[in-house]
Amino acid sequence: MSCTQTIIDYGLRSLGYGERLLPRADYTLCQQFTLIGSGLIWNIYFAVLALSIGFVLANALAVARASRNPWLRRPADAFIFVFRGSPLFIQFFIAYQALVMLPRAGIDIFGLTVQTSWLTRAWAGALIVLTLNTTAYSAQIFHGALMAVPKGDIEAADAYGMTGWTRFRRVIWPTMMRLAWPSYTNEAIFLFHATTLVYFSSFPAFQQKGDALYYASYFADKTFNPFVAYPIAAAYFIAATLLLIWLFGRVNRRLNRHLPGAGGRVRYKPQLAR
């Protein structure tokens, strides 16, 4: 079987298209590259959606946390404490067990029957957990940045007669993003790497539709050889991470474009904040 044929058969296997049976004997390098790459689609799916939804929620949560109203601040604090203080792995298990307990037939809300079975699927259930998780971590980062916005900026906005939403949108928020962005890049990388955990927690891979690491461990189990499949998965992740750093670096450059000397070098400064 030629490699092109393998790619046609297994290129979209993780989404359920193409050949149904996974290779069972004579595992070729091409098969391993194709299937693991196909699984990477799921990692990217989880990362992109969790990060984009989480970004919006985290902004709201960071502002709520900075609020003087205890009815906003306390729940925000508690949410961040629970999701940052406990392992993602345990969060997956709890979420899965809780979602499985929902009634099979669906829930009646105002006469409408809402189906619930899809929530136990990884594409939805795990996405919810990942989103909430990254929301908590990003909110912590954004809150720190919000607290670090220079007082002078806000006074200048006041002097221009800006208040409330206008002041936030045009002065505070851009500075907050600019300050938070290096840490947020870090969080995005951590979250992207955490997506590999999905199919190793409770969430089952229906019809063997799994992510990159799911297929890598499938091959490693079948061939008793970890030295091929895992490095392939690692190579995919290195490439994807470099792409992610490049993308976030572009945004960083845009956020800092008004500052002298920012156009030239955007150095990703690795830090460990999770």
Binding site: A25, Y27, F81, V82, R84, G85, S86, P87, L88, F89, I90, Q91, F93, I94, Q97, A98, M101, I189, F192, H193, A194, T196, L197, F200, L213, A216, S217, A220, K222, T223, F224, N225, P226, F227, Y230, A233, A234, F237, I238, T241, L242, P270, Q271, L272, A273, R274
Partner: protein
């Protein structure tokens, strides 16, 4: 455990629960928390040593050593740690068995035969007639190595950054006093780097705590394993039948981890305050001003 526990089926309510929670398997579950703490206690210092080695290698003047250090520190940036947790134990196991195969067996036989990894009986690790605790200990040993390699790489990042953060003038002054590079490292660089390294290392400790449930992936009978075993629905064939209680077991684990991270956070804050006392950093300056006011 208690004297009235001889016939659990006749019990109700609180006595039943007290018997249930002190059954033999539950005691194993409680001791698995010890496994987690043991892993933390061993991994943290070993990872710190690995990290120190990695950071020193990355600063080395010898090019191949420096490349090794740079690659070691950079690898955890691009590759998910879970890949290492899956890869390292199998790879190490096979490496050990291969070495023993070369030494103890007829080494003309290839180790890889098709999709099988074959070594002779004498080279198996642990030996097939070893007692179960040896198998458990070997599993935990591999897990500790895997954790140490990954967290050593994280720690190497932190320590490398901290070494770079020590003011250059300090090192130059030491050199001007005629100290050898080795003396500069030992007397000036290492004592001063800790205050810069502490935020990163605290963070790392938190990440390490939150990574311990991954022991389950390595096949160790840890808290997650027991929570799944004990929580699963038990039919009346069991001494203590109950429906699926896994959610409650996992909630208990959640509370355990929240407590761990909360207590660690409090302790680390204290250490940070203690370490920044008298330091020429923002935190130290704030403390000085606070003391005057």
């Amino acid at each position: 455990m208690f004297s009235y526990c001889t016939d659990p089926s006749s019990l109700q309510g609180l006595p039943w629960l007290s018997c249930y929670l002190t059954s033999g398997t539950h005691l194993l579950f409680y001791s698995s928390f010890g496994t987690v703490l043991l892993l933390l206690a061993i991994t943290a210092p070993v990872a710190l040593i690995f990290g120190y080695g990695g950071a020193m290698a990355a600063r080395s003047r010898i090019a191949p050593l420096r490349w090794f250090g740079k690659i070691y520190t950079a690898m955890v940036r691009g590759i998910p740690d879970i890949i290492f947790f899956l890869f390292v134990p199998i790879a190490l196991d096979q490496a050990f068995e291969w070495m023993r195969h070369q030494a103890l067996c007829d080494s003309s036989q290839p180790v890889r035969q098709g999709s099988d990894f074959v070594v002779c009986d004498a080279a198996k690790l642990p030996l097939s007639d070893a007692s179960p605790w040896v198998h458990d200990a070997y599993g935990i040993f591999l897990a500790v190595i895997a954790f140490s390699i990954v967290f050593g790489a994280f720690a190497a990042n932190v320590l490398y950054g901290a070494m770079q953060a020590v003011p250059r003038a300090q090192l130059e002054t030491a050199e001007a006093y005629g100290m050898t590079p080795r003396q500069v490292t030992r007397r000036v660089l290492v004592p001063q780097m800790w205050t810069y390294a502490l935020p990163g290392l605290s963070n790392l400790w938190m990440i390490l705590i939150k990574a311990t449930p991954l022991l389950f992936l390595l096949g160790v009978e840890d808290v997650v394993y027991w929570a799944r075993e004990l929580g699963g629905a038990k039919t009346s064939a069991f001494t203590y039948p109950h429906p699926d209680w896994r959610l409650y077991y996992f909630l208990a684990l959640l509370v355990f981890y929240l407590l761990m991270t909360w207590i660690s956070g409090r302790v680390l804050d204290r250490v940070a305050r203690r370490l920044s006392r008298g330091q020429a950093t923002l935190a130290g300056e704030a403390q000085r001003k606070g003391a005057i006011a």
